[in-house]
């Protein structure tokens, strides 16, 4: 029997009690915090813990409602008894609506539904809300308008799979829980939600028969075994083996979990025409290689003026850092000094932290990022104002770090430092990878100097040509460039060349 331990209960209450209900993505962020690094027992007990926490959140309506949204979003039917109690106490529409979804789930005891229905008899809800509630409870309520039809098919997609596909419903993905570790279940649910899917949990034990239309042939089903299909068909659901994506928990890693969700996305499109969004890496160059990839991060041959333009410092300060921090020592080629992309990123982050904190920043930020040689696996990089470079394997970890409540010093995703920022006095440091809309920086292209996009033409080359021979000549030399491109490149080039 699944139980919620006191420690888990405290942890869940703490997360809910401090959840940010306004900024960011409250449901997504709170779920990440709730499911981070759970043991198998804790993962199994999470829904009960959330239910228990409700009573202690009565004085905090925003977070109470957030808890309800979480329960519905991740189909935490195990918490249904607590929501029935909550709805009885509060007698608020949102509480009833959330409870209706949970008690109608085939993993919930039928008696809970009876309790809810007796509450609703004296609810005094407006007719439209009452119907919305009833549609959540049963597919047998005919829709009387477009929005009701939308709700009916979102809740009971198997009623009319053609209309489900045609209407603006969210894609649904079902996950069969039998022999699936709960940590994996929550991980899958998180990823699929981020892709825009609604989750449907197929319980190991059905406390009540699923109602008609609960599932549909157009819905992918993630399962440990294709045997789930015969079980569902016995229960009257119209499903086929073609819907099943088999998952072997013993061979799951972050990489092949991404492959699994990719397969699910392809299946959702093929079966029901519903498109799931693929999660894009946060910072990618046009070549598709992430900028902090080990193959790219230590490339580049940047002059001091280029570093100054792209990091916000001055050429003289760059030479100062080169003398005083070992890892900032440049290479010397034909009498000229050149730095690499990691040096540029390090100096940029240093100035960025200085700007955002308004105080002196440890030079360890420079040495930390300059020493960091990139990473082998795709993932995310964060950096602290004290110079620690944090490499994490997935989005969930980095969000967890960013959400830590003042326990660690100022921390930022590395790609946040790539955005334009003000230095003070009106000076703006341009975007690192895209200084202007028509220019780009790629460490492996022309040594990383800013170039016009989709070309190997350095902005400084254009700027020198314009200075020495005028724009007309520049147009003649580069007839395939527009006047605007010449102007944009020259502007960036002049900004670099003017740095001393």
């Amino acid at each position: 029997m699944t139980t919620a331990t006191p420690a888990l209960n405290r942890a869940v209450l703490h997360v809910l009690g401090h959840a940010n209900v306004d900024r960011g993505m409250p449901i997504t962020d709170t779920w990440r915090a709730l499911t981070m690094d759970l043991s198998s027992q804790e993962a199994a007990g999470l829904p009960l813990s959330l239910g228990l926490a409700l009573r202690l959140l009565y004085q905090d309506p925003s977070r109470l409602e957030l808890a309800a949204d979480l329960a519905v979003t991740y189909e935490l039917y195990e918490s249904a008894p607590y929501f029935v109690e909550l709805a009885e106490q509060l007698r608020l529409p949102w509480a009833w609506l959330a409870t209706a979804v949970l008690v109608a789930h085939p993993g919930s005891e039928p008696v809970l539904r009876d309790r809810l229905e007796s509450q609703l008899k004296a609810s005094g809800l407006p007719a439209s809300l009452n119907r919305a509630l009833q549609i959540r409870l049963t597919p047998d309520v005919p829709a009387t308008n477009e929005l009701e039809e939308l709700l009916l098919l979102q809740r009971w997609p198997g009623l009319d799979k053609v209309r489900f596909q045609q209407l603006a419903t969210a894609p649904i993905v079902a996950i069969a829980e039998t022999e699936l570790p709960k940590q994996l279940l929550w991980q899958l649910a998180s990823k699929l939600r981020l892709m825009g899917a609604e989750i449907r949990r197929i319980p190991t034990e059905f406390k009540q028969s699923p109602q008609r239309g609960w599932l549909a042939e157009s819905i992918p089903i993630i399962a440990r075994s294709p045997a789930v299909v015969s079980k569902l068909r016995e229960l009257g659901q119209s499903v086929t083996g073609a819907q099943v994506v088999v998952l072997d928990p013993a061979h799951i890693s972050d990489r092949n979990l991404r492959e699994v969700v990719g397969t699910v996305a392809a299946l959702a499109l093929r079966l029901g025409g519903k498109r799931l969004e693929q999660e894009a890496p946060s910072v990618q160059l046009q070549s598709g290689v992430e900028v902090v990839d080990r193959r790219v991060y230590t490339q580049g041959t940047y002059t001091a003026p280029e570093i100054a333009y792209l990091s916000g410092g001055s050429s003289s300060r760059i030479y100062h850092w080169a003398r005083t921090i070992d890892v900032m020592e440049p290479r010397r080629i034909e009498g000229l000094y050149y730095w690499q992309f990691n040096h540029l990123v390090a100096l940029r982050a240093y100035h960025w932290f200085g700007r955002i904190t308004g105080r002196r920043i440890s030079r360890r930020v420079i040495s930390g990022l300059a020493e960091f040689a990139g990473r082998d696996q795709p993932g995310q990089v964060a950096v602290t104002a004290s110079g620690e470079v944090l490499v994490v394997q997935n989005e969930e970890e980095i969000h967890s770090i960013l959400n830590m409540q003042g326990v660690i010093p100022e921390v930022a995703r590395l790609d946040a430092t790539f955005q334009p920022f003000e230095l003070g006095g009106g000076a703006v440091v341009p975007g690192l990878l895209e200084p202007t809309p028509g220019t780009r920086v790629h460490p492996a292209v022309l040594g990383g100097t800013p170039t016009l996009k989709r070309s190997r033409i350095a902005c400084t080359t254009i700027a020198r040509l314009v200075d020495q021979r005028g724009r007309l000549v520049a147009r003649e030399v580069y007839p395939f460039l527009s006047e605007a491109q010449i102007g944009e490149a020259a502007e960036v080039g002049h900004a670099i060349l003017s740095r001393k």
Binding site: H14, H18, A19, N20, V21, D22, R23, G24, M25, P26, I27, T28, D29, S62, E65, L66, D69, V72, T73, P93, W94, L97, V101, P126, S128, L129, A132, L133, R136, L147, E148, L150, L151, Q154, R155, A168, T169, A170, P171, R193, G196, A197, E198, W352, R355, I356, T357, G358, H399, L402, N403, M404, Q405, G406, A416, Q419, P420, F421, E422, V428
Partner: protein, 204 residues
């Protein structure tokens, strides 16, 4: 969070001292410390002086947040999850119209605790991705941009510059006294009524 309050020189010294004294409790009773910081923040907010805004203001939130807190309960009744709401709005002919008409009608449409606003002129031309980055929302597009009327004095909207205690109360852990890295100024208000809202724009 204590450090944030203590280091904000715009706060009265007494407030900063009170926050500093909480350090002794921080390790043993962190929740109590947060509660006391919240109380401190409420006191600061009550004593602060507000002014009528001099420019049109706006607030950007994720669609998930908009569905969760800003959509009218009758409209929300048709959308069991944020995903279903988002799917519908994204495919609508006029998403902005649906977002605007579906908002809650309330004196506290945007409660004071969350009434962080930015000049509309600074964000008007930004798509969802840039909007999220420039305002440091840590949200992914699509976003809902809640735009207030140009003149909102009749609706009682008054603003001030946020201080550290506001950030602590709102749990804006990434807030800094120096403001957003993009340079876009932020303002904080008391409760913003729904009548002050001109339009809610869809920002994919």
């Amino acid at each position: 969070m204590i450090d944030l309050v203590v280091s904000d020189s715009r706060l009265p010294p007494t407030v900063r001292q009170q926050a500093s004294r909480l350090r002794a409790l921080a390790e043993r009773q962190p929740d109590l410390v947060l509660e006391r910081l919240d109380e401190l923040g409420m006191a600061v907010a009550e004593r602060a002086s507000y002014q009528a805004p001099t420019e049109q203001l706006a607030k950007a939130v994720s669609i998930e947040s908009y569905w969760g807190h800003y959509v009218d309960s009758e409209v929300k009744g048709y959308f069991p999850t944020a995903e279903s709401y988002r799917a519908f709005i994204a495919q609508a002919d006029d998403p902005t119209s649906w977002l605007t008409s579906g908002r809650r009608r309330s004196r506290e449409f945007i409660p004071a605790l969350h009434a962080w606003l930015a000049p509309y002129a600074a964000v008007e031309a930004l798509g969802g991705d840039l909007l999220a980055r420039r305002l440091e929302l840590r949200s992914k597009p699509p976003l809902a941009l809640i735009v207030l009327h140009e003149n909102v004095t009749a609706q009682g909207v008054e603003v001030r510059i946020p201080v550290a205690t506001d950030a602590v109360r709102g749990r804006h852990l990434q807030w800094r006294p120096t403001g957003l890295a993009s340079g876009i100024p932020e303002f904080i208000d008391k409760d913003v009524p729904s009548e002050a809202v001109l339009i809610v724009e869809w920002r994919p």
